[in-house]
């Protein structure tokens, strides 16, 4: 079935809310407005306002409420209108949700999902365009998922909702309208499993979320030039499926990592470190990272384009890692 990313998320939540009465959706405009990006279309009509809760604009307050509800055995899904606003809830996420199980010596768990779009869309400016996945991945006690396709989005969101832990589920505004084949009926995709999205033998490209689409485009173009790229989507950023990446590295010996977030201390730095640590001997040269620029996101179109990775930058990086740059 051909579905948009938005529809796939809608299906996943709908199926899980039908399945488990403890699951509820909470966030700004998730009910009568149908979600700022229409992900929860039809929810308040089907599940009622007791399970689809519109909140005041208070990220710390309603995220904290959801954490408390999870501590008491409910299964909340928190929608952050964008992950940028999640910064207001960082105290709740980092100091409470991620630590309560550990601090309590395993007495309390926090089974919940916090989801919403990260990364840049079109000229939304510095406060609405951030890729903050590295922040969340840095904190022990949080699983972080960032699917790129409708199929992965549905299967992973269902797993996230069923998970016994806090799962930070990263979407992207520019992905909501993208379409792809989604398997009919019930299915889940395990958290922590990468997927080879394109098989190849010359270079391993690791890319996730929106950057996967960029890498796939680049891969197509490069294949016409006779360069055979293998593309891996980790899908889950923590825990990272290093095995799948390393299996590919053993074959290709060359790695390019693509991420939209800031370069310094970005997630790619960690992925590179992990690859160097376990697969250094298989590498034919240094890993190359394609990243966002270390600047707040500018508004102007030309500057914004310059601040984030594009197809050409990925192509250049692949050629460079092959020594053909």
């Amino acid at each position: 079935m051909l579905l948009s990313y938005r529809e796939a998320l809608n299906q996943a939540m709908r199926e899980e809310m039908r399945r488990d009465a403890r699951t509820f959706l909470i966030g700004e405009e998730v009910g009568y407005y149908q979600g700022a990006f229409k992900v929860s279309k039809g929810f308040v009509e089907e599940f009622g306002p007791q399970r689809v809760l519109d909140t005041p604009i208070t990220e710390a307050g309603f995220t904290g409420l959801a954490i408390g509800a999870a501590m008491a055995g409910l299964r909340p899904i928190v929608e952050l209108m964008t992950l940028n606003f999640g910064i207001l809830a960082m105290d709740q996420i980092v100091n409470n949700a991620a630590k309560i199980r550990y601090m309590s010596g395993g007495q309390i768990s926090v089974p919940m999902v916090i989801r919403g779009p990260g990364s840049a869309a079109h000229q939304l400016g510095a406060q609405h365009s951030q890729s903050l996945e590295a922040w969340f991945c840095h904190v022990p006690g949080i699983k972080v998922v960032a699917p790129a396709t409708p199929h992965d989005a549905k299967g992973l969101l269902k797993s996230a909702i069923r998970d016994q832990n806090l799962v930070l589920f990263i979407e992207a505004q520019l992905l909501y309208g993208t379409k792809g084949e989604v398997r009919d009926g019930e299915y889940t995709i395990p958290i922590g499993q990468a997927e080879v999205k394109r098989s190849g033998s010359d270079v391993t490209v690791v890319a996730y979320s929106k950057m996967l689409l960029l890498a796939m485009d680049a891969g197509e173009e490069l294949s016409r030039e006779g360069i055979d790229v293998e593309i891996i989507d980790p899908r889950t950023l923590w825990p990272l499926d290093l095995d799948t990446i390393v299996t590919s590295v053993r074959k290709t010996g060359r790695v390019v990592i693509v991420e939209e977030g800031w370069r310094f201390c970005g997630l790619g730095a960690q992925i590179a470190d992990s690859v160097y640590t376990v697969a250094f001997d298989y590498l034919d040269g240094p890993i190359i990272r394609v990243t966002g620029e270390d600047v707040p996101m500018p508004y102007s179109r030309v500057l914004e384009d310059a601040a984030i990775p594009d197809r050409l930058k990925v192509i250049e990086a692949v050629k460079q890692v092959l020594g053909r740059g």
Binding site: F24, Q50, T55, P56, T58, A60, G61, F62, T63, G64, L65, A66, I67, G68, A69, A70, M71, A72, G73, L74, D91, Q92, N95, N96, I100, R101, Y102, M103, S104, G105, G106, Q107, I108, S109, P111, P140, G141, K143, Q164, N165
Partner: protein
């Protein structure tokens, strides 16, 4: 007034008092480390408030949390073991003084980011309401947390959604060393601000355990009946410093001020009431003193003789592993 009941309240306050004194002693001996915030002087708030609750009600608090935990009925041995960082502690030694948690007693924890646990309380109360239960949640916080943004987001949500939640603002007059009049705009009556959210709010003498319990009983009854949240400002006083690093008086308050408040020691006040009504005599208090000292001594022995956690515990309990 009933003798057994009053003796029980007195015993609970005495247990907290002696437990805290012993904790300070153990801190001086380096058996306890990190931050240690003593509850001495404020016992009537925890004991009075918690006496009005059912076992299935939730309690959550900030980091000065030993009192609530003990008043909730946690085993003092396991509380002391937690302070010692031992494997037999409530949280297997992973929480410490500021993060005591006893799920079985529905004491959902001490939290050490000021104001940060108040939204959690709304969630516990929300869950009860969502599942159509009649339990209530009690959230203790200091007047130092009152101005925090998270507190106000929680007040608004609790009132908006009529959550079964009692906010107990324990006004001990100082947020660390900053007196309330330098931190809260409407400091002379904090309940005024709470009422502006549409939350019924009352003030009580937090040194008087009977007044505290009585107000809590009326309040909890209304909240349990589905009338939405309530707010109590309990006026109290911390006899010791903010933490072990802070002397009881000096830079920000005088010895005279502390002495003045000590005249209204909650243990003394209850003892006086009991004597006045012939509901307690020297022999009773002596007996309780003996029992409680014994209980605290046993807690120390238990903590002393318990093993430290195995190093293998380091990576356990980060996540639920299915």
């Amino acid at each position: 007034m009933e003798r057994t009941d009053l003796l029980h309240l007195y015993r609970q306050m005495l247990l907290i008092r002696r437990f805290e004194e012993k904790s300070a002693e153990m801190y001086a001996l380096a058996k306890i480390a990190g931050f240690l915030h003593l509850y001495i002087g404020e016992e009537a708030v925890a004991v009075g408030a918690i006496a009005a609750l059912r076992p299935d009600d939730y309690v959550i608090s900030a980091y000065r949390d030993h009192g609530y935990c003990l008043a909730r009925g946690s085993d003092p041995r396991r509380v002391m073991a937690e302070l010692f960082g031992k494997a037999t502690g409530l949280c297997k030694g992973k929480g410490g003084s500021m993060h005591l948690i006893d799920c079985e007693k529905r004491f959902m924890g001490g939290y050490a980011i000021v104001g940060g646990h108040i939204p959690l309380a709304t969630g516990l109360a929300f869950a009860t309401k969502y599942e159509q239960g009649d339990g209530v949640t009690v959230c203790f916080f200091g007047e130092g947390a009152f101005p925090s943004g998270q507190a106000h987001e929680a007040f608004n949500l609790a009132a908006l959604w009529k959550l079964p939640l009692v906010f107990v603002c324990e006004n001990n007059r100082y947020g660390m060393g900053t007196p309330v009049h330098r931190a809260v705009a409407l400091y002379s009556d904090i309940t005024e601000t709470a009422r502006s959210y549409g939350i019924p709010a009352e003030r009580v003498d937090g040194m008087d355990v009977l007044a505290m319990r009585s107000l809590m009983e009326q309040t909890v009854k209304r909240v349990r009946a589905g009338q939405g949240p309530a707010f109590i400002e309990a006026l109290t006083y911390r006899f010791m410093g903010h933490s072990m690093a802070d002397p009881s008086h000096g830079h920000y308050r005088t010895k005279d001020e502390v002495e003045e408040h000590r005249k209204r020691d909650p243990l003394f006040l209850l003892q006086r009431t009991m004597r006045d009504h012939n509901l307690g005599a020297d022999a009773d208090f002596k007996q309780l003193e003996h029992e409680v000292n014994e209980q605290v001594a046993q807690a120390v022995t238990f903590a002393e003789t318990s093993p430290f956690p195995e190093l293998s515990a380091l990576h356990e309990d980060v996540l639920v592993t299915e």
